[in-house]
């Protein structure tokens, strides 16, 4: 067995090493879930079945996406960014393992840990307090696959942003732009189903949709049969494109490399 499954496991463990911090974040996610849920309920009260969602779908969407905040790290960022800034990346580059594979394994471990520690409270609270649409067992299985793909897409984007550090030496600008894109086009602010016309079409085609909107719709059972496979294929395609881009940029970074500091 290669080293990457171990890196996954270590990633899982290092991100579950401080459960109290994760619990606090989870409670924050839950609280914001309540605020979002009331806003959405008010909207669906005025416009019932907006975008094909019932009020119960909108509220379920709200809490499932709150639960996904941690796993797909929708606010962006990864440890690699800081390691490039301070030069610790030299250690990563020196290992006899590819940089992207290493960090993907670590990030999937992080996401799994986050799912365990942070997803429960928002879902539980949402299901107890609001009308909630629990998924059918087969949807739950599909949702698991969709979540893994969503994390991979999220990683692909964050990895590219992190590698930007090799050229930019400061990631704040890039981080700010990607944060706005990420929140708006993932469905975090409003479900993409309410976006009208062409904006909706575009939003549904971008990689951010693969991180939040698609897994949430899989959870809600809005895809069946070929539609479900299509949705997963959409995520997988973005994951493949982003990882391929990541591999290219890794090579370019290696070529131009100046390890900062030390």
């Amino acid at each position: 067995m290669g080293v990457l499954p171990w890196v996954w496991w270590y990633g899982f463990r290092r991100h579950t090493a401080y459960p109290l911090g994760s619990l606090t974040e989870s409670l924050t996610n839950t609280m914001f879930g309540f605020m979002r849920a009331y806003v959405l309920l008010a909207l669906w009260d005025v416009r019932p079945s907006l975008g094909g969602y019932e009020a119960v779908d909108a509220v379920t969407f709200c809490f499932i996406t709150q639960a996904l905040i941690g796993p797909v790290q929708i606010f962006g960022g990864m440890d690699l960014t800081e390691r490039i800034r301070n030069g610790d990346v030299a250690i990563d580059l020196y290992r006899p393992v590819g940089l992207q594979g290493w960090w993907l394994a670590d990030d999937l471990g992080r996401a799994a840990g986050s799912l365990v520690l942070r997803a429960g409270p928002p879902l539980l609270a949402g299901a107890l307090v609001f009308p909630f649409r629990p998924p059918a067992p087969e949807n739950l299985a599909a949702f698991t696959v969709a979540t893994v793909l969503a994390v991979t897409v999220s990683f692909g984007l964050r990895y590219l942003v992190a590698l930007g550090m090799f050229w930019l030496h400061d990631d704040r600008g890039l981080q700010a732009v990607t944060l706005v894109m990420s929140l708006f086009f993932s469905g975090m602010i409003l479900p993409l189903v309410v976006f009208p016309g062409r904006l909706g079409t575009v939003a549904h085609a971008l990689p951010w949709a693969a991180q939040i909107q698609v897994p949430a719709d899989v959870f809600l059972g809005r895809y069946t049969g070929a539609g479900l496979l299509g949705a997963l294929a959409f995520q997988a395609a973005w994951a493949a494109v982003l990882l391929a881009a990541g591999a290219l940029v890794t090579r370019a970074a290696r070529r131009k490399l100046v390890v900062h500091g030390g």
């Binding site: 080293v3 270590y10 463990r13 030299a90 580059l93």
Partner: protein, 330 residues
């Protein structure tokens, strides 16, 4: 002659530094971090690689490990081109960066060491034996189950050394491994390195600013300055230049102009205190007698020059010092 572990021939690394020169214009200036360095290291050698900050030491190490590509020249480490065969080479090298760590910060030390086995694909039995040996030598037992973030710097460094040696590399590259360590931790690390070199025959290249490291460990010293090798030779020869000079520290009654006695001049003046270098030929007693006759002297001290002063002289570009060593022609 055995196949060298490291062969560097006329290795150059040039960085391009961009500086703003106008509103939108940027001037590109090439900086030669390493400027034509040649040396070979034979198996089993313990070589100290010294130089002032910014001299090109870390750049050399990054080229040796394949993280950076040389701009020109040829480089072979364990017979491989480091930047092209980085992954293969990594399995035969151990690297420790004193200011960084390969250990997993939030997990027990034991886990980081276990991962090394997966990373370098070491046989389970061989790994177990090696781990037991390193645990005993580095006295890791008391903190194997402690998360790395809770380790003291000395403990962490011992953990990093174990991690770098678990796959039994042919060449160990150390970048300031004793930085920030206390006296006892330094001694532990030094004893350990000396043993690894003597018993295992592991070739070691050591970068450090700690001259204790050098005196205790290195038979051969290379000094790099401004990207060029300024000295490559035995430590003993370097020491012999040290014996040549002594330093006379004179405290005068009041500050005055630099002292000048037949051929001997103050090389440093701080208020009433002046430093004079006495060459081997000088008669210290006569100089002191002359000094007290001409000046009002309050205190006087005669010091043997340490290797530190010689290096400081070298770093400052005071080439007169390495006359008896083997300076490398520029």
């Amino acid at each position: 002659m055995p196949v060298p572990v490291i062969e560097a021939e006329d290795v150059v690394k040039t960085f391009t530094v961009r500086a703003r020169s106008g509103m939108l214009r940027r001037a590109r200036t090439p900086v030669h971090a390493v400027d034509g360095v040649s040396f070979t290291v034979a198996p089993g050698e313990f070589v100290g690689y010294l130089g002032p900050n910014g001299a090109g030491k870390s750049t050399t190490i990054k080229m040796l490990t394949g993280i950076l590509t040389a701009s020109s020249g040829t480089l072979r480490v364990c017979g491989l081109d480091p930047s092209r065969r980085r992954t293969t080479l990594a399995r035969r090298l151990g690297v420790v960066f004193g200011q960084r760590t390969t250990l997993w910060w939030d997990l027990p030390l034991r886990d980081s060491l276990a991962l090394v086995r997966r990373l370098y694909r070491v046989e389970a039995a061989a790994h177990r034996a090696r781990l037991a040996e390193l645990t005993a030598l580095l006295e890791l037992d008391p903190f194997l189950d402690t998360p790395v973030r809770q380790l003291s710097l000395g403990q962490r460094m011992r953990g990093d050394l174990a991690a770098a040696l678990l796959h039994d590399p042919e060449l160990l590259v150390l970048d300031e491994p004793t930085i920030g360590l206390d006296v006892v931790s330094k001694a532990t690390v030094r004893d350990f390195l000396a043993r690894v070199n003597a018993e295992r025959g592991t070739t070691i290249l050591l970068t450090t600013h700690d001259l204790g490291d050098i005196e205790r460990l290195c038979r051969r010293v290379m000094i790099i300055d401004h990207g060029r090798l300024a000295y490559d030779g035995g430590l003993d020869e370097l020491r012999r230049t040290v014996d040549a000079d002594r330093l006379l520290v004179v405290e005068l009654a009041r500050p005055g102009p630099p002292i000048a006695l037949d051929g001997i001049e103050a090389e440093r003046v701080e208020g009433p205190r002046q430093w004079l270098r006495l060459p081997r030929s000088a008669n210290a007693a006569a100089v002191v007698a002359e000094l007290t006759r001409v000046h009002e002297v309050r205190d006087i001290a005669l010091r043997e020059m340490g290797i530190e002063e010689v290096l400081a002289g070298l770093y400052r570009g005071d080439h007169a010092y390495w006359c008896s060593g083997r300076p490398v022609a520029p």
